[in-house]
Symmetry: C2
Subunit: 398 residues, 2 copies
């Protein structure tokens, strides 16, 4: 009797596995594979391919020249070598440093995902395979056996937009069990991003879980807004149907988002157990989100006690188009007269926004306005933004 059931169970699994194979093709080879010596092997099975390459930020970068624009670092590429059964392979010559990486294969000139790796991320309109090498600072990006905060995809009605809009909200472990109130950090994305970006590419939930579990950060509520006021939510979550994500959205850096921000704070303060005062409120953001952070801080000097500008997109947009961006020097003086606890500025030394950020810090220094400046290697990349968040969060609400 037992045997019959076992055969039947095999059939259930067998048909499913068979169906996968036949219908969609499950994983054929192991890729990526982190080896014992810390090197990583990438594999791609395709007997008919002529040339298979790997590109990604796990490889040394290469410099490219854009005429009229300057020189930029982009991920390098290497050739895979074909072995038995049409399995192409590349093993890094050196151990790969701990980091959260994105990569693709280029098969006869065509970008492809590593379909043996089910870990795929979308960044704006780009799909990449993901490799997380644990260790060092990247341990913060891993899911550990620690208490986990909850992530809620939450909708609020925006008077400014005239429709429902979506937020992601992190509530720390223990929030549901207790009755206590928590400080709030608002985290803003870059151009083309949305309320998912920091959680997917930014590993923000893991960073928060781990920093709080280690006692390096205080438990806090963290709100990930959607900074594209013309949109309801991330591109795949709206009633407008399928649209390709783009950096060229309307109403991103023309004052609407900053003008609408108080309604988000009001919603959060009325729906979560927050400490609803300046001393317990922080804001930070990357690129466009750093620009938003600056102008939210200046226009609402009584709202945030801590502000973090990560590779902020300052000095690049037409700030004449909204009152939000005008009377800059007066607003800056007012902001500092109210003695915020922290203005934190981080930028990579090859970022195309590096010069603008340095100029801003000079202006602050000339006026004896206090700020913290952290400079890292590299450019306008998620690798830096995850580090900036990891360094900013422990400074808050203490």
């Amino acid at each position: 009797m037992k045997k019959i059931f076992t055969i039947a169970a095999s059939l259930l699994i067998g048909v499913t596995a068979f169906a996968q194979q036949a219908l969609w093709g499950g994983p054929q080879v192991v890729s990526p594979q982190i080896n014992e010596d810390g090197t990583v092997t990438f594999r791609y099975q395709n007997p008919k391919a002529v040339k298979v390459q790997l590109t990604g930020d796990c490889l040394p970068s290469q410099k490219i020249e854009v005429p009229g624009f300057g020189t930029f670092d982009v991920p390098g590429s290497v050739d895979l070598k074909e072995g038995p059964n049409g399995i192409w392979e590349y093993t890094t010559p050196q151990p790969v440093a701990p980091e959260f990486y994105n990569y693709n294969f280029i098969v006869d000139g065509q970008k492809e995902l590593d379909l043996n790796n089910v870990f795929v991320n979308r960044d704006i309109a780009n799909l990449t395979s993901v490799l997380l090498v644990p260790g060092g600072h990247a341990d913060l990006y891993t899911v550990k056996n620690v208490p986990h905060g909850a992530i809620t995809k939450q909708w609020y009605y925006s008077q400014k937009a005239g429709f429902n809009r979506r937020l992601s909200v992190y509530t720390p472990a223990g929030y549901e069990e207790g009755k206590g109130k928590y400080p709030v950090l608002y985290v803003l994305h870059g151009i083309g991003g949305d309320e998912n970006a920091w959680l997917e590419q930014g590993r923000a939930a893991q960073i928060l879980d781990n920093l709080i579990a280690e006692g390096k950060a205080v438990p806090m509520i963290v709100v990930f807004t959607n900074g594209n006021i013309s949109q309801e939510a991330a591109p795949l979550e709206t009633s407008t149907g399928y649209t390709i994500p783009t950096t060229a959205l309307p109403q991103t850096m023309e004052g609407s988002f900053e003008t609408s921000f108080p309604e988000i704070v009001k919603f959060i303060d009325s729906h979560y157990r927050t400490i609803a005062k300046k001393q317990s409120r922080a804001v930070c953001g990357l690129s466009m989100g750093g620009f938003h952070t600056l102008y939210l801080s200046l226009n609402y000097p009584d709202l945030f006690n801590y502000s973090g500008m990560f590779s902020a997109a300052i000095g690049v947009s037409d700030t004449s188009i909204s009152p939000i961006y005008q009377n800059f020097d007066t607003k800056l003086a007012t902001y500092f007269s109210k003695k915020p606890a922290l203005l934190w500025i981080g930028c990579g030394n090859t970022d195309f926004l590096y010069k603008a950020n340095i100029e801003f810090t000079k202006k602050l220094s000339e006026n004896n306005f206090p700020y913290t400046y952290v400079e890292t290697e590299g450019g306008h990349i998620w690798k830096n933004w995850r580090v900036y968040l990891s360094e900013f969060v422990p400074l808050l609400f203490k």
Copy 2:
């Protein structure tokens, strides 16, 4: 002055766009494209490919014979035709019926995603591109301009497992604003699935939002469990690091999940505003989740008033291995003696579990036990499970 800023803004966007192009390659062509006449065009750019095919459940199915196992319907495939610039194209000869579809390209025999379509789903270990054709019953699967429930990824400590485990919880629109209590539906996944499956492949949040907005279902809390008691969470969300999802997990159909279920109900009843009684509690599940639904209902006859078995995996596993599965007839009689409001059974007429489900309904009829049976076309597929959920939910808590 304004001009300088405009140029700088273009530079910001330009570099980003350029970077996409250079680093990862953004969308090159439009695919998929739903045409005005309802046909769909798929495109894939690759000048070096010799043969490009499309496969997916948007194409007529084909029958395949598995020696010793029987005949199975699998998605068909068609050839794309190469046009200018190496852009391969296929337009369906007929309008494509409204549905949530999965598809892939097969390029010289190799499965690939449609990288011009950023909408990708993972089902167990399989990545597919997604096409949602709105209209008809598939309108329930679209995000509409209606009030949206919130989705929370929530962790609870499992005494049975000895570690933290993750749930997905849907709270209906208005939950946060009010103080009222809600009935609870527990929704269970199939073998190889996890707490994300019903929300990603099952479109459950959209179905619930839309049914509630239309007044066809009462507002309810819906809990999506992880039925693999050996795991913390979905494969990419655990502290065990990167693992390839598989249907061959331990502790899936041997009683552990059913034994541990009361701790989930206890957690939900103590953390959400639930109506914590049988009359306001329902359970349903697909395949393995239908099997779990049956044995949860029989072993805890005072827990659920409504049970939904969707293509339930009954009659295929070794039920001698746990007391949960023993004394079936006695438990069945006890269950019905307590007059549950609904036992709902749905199965496709080409499902490999069809015969077992028919036999079960015969057994019920012979004993004059009341049940609702819905038979559809097709097999063991998500298309059916979304329909079953859409039909089951309106019957609850009325």
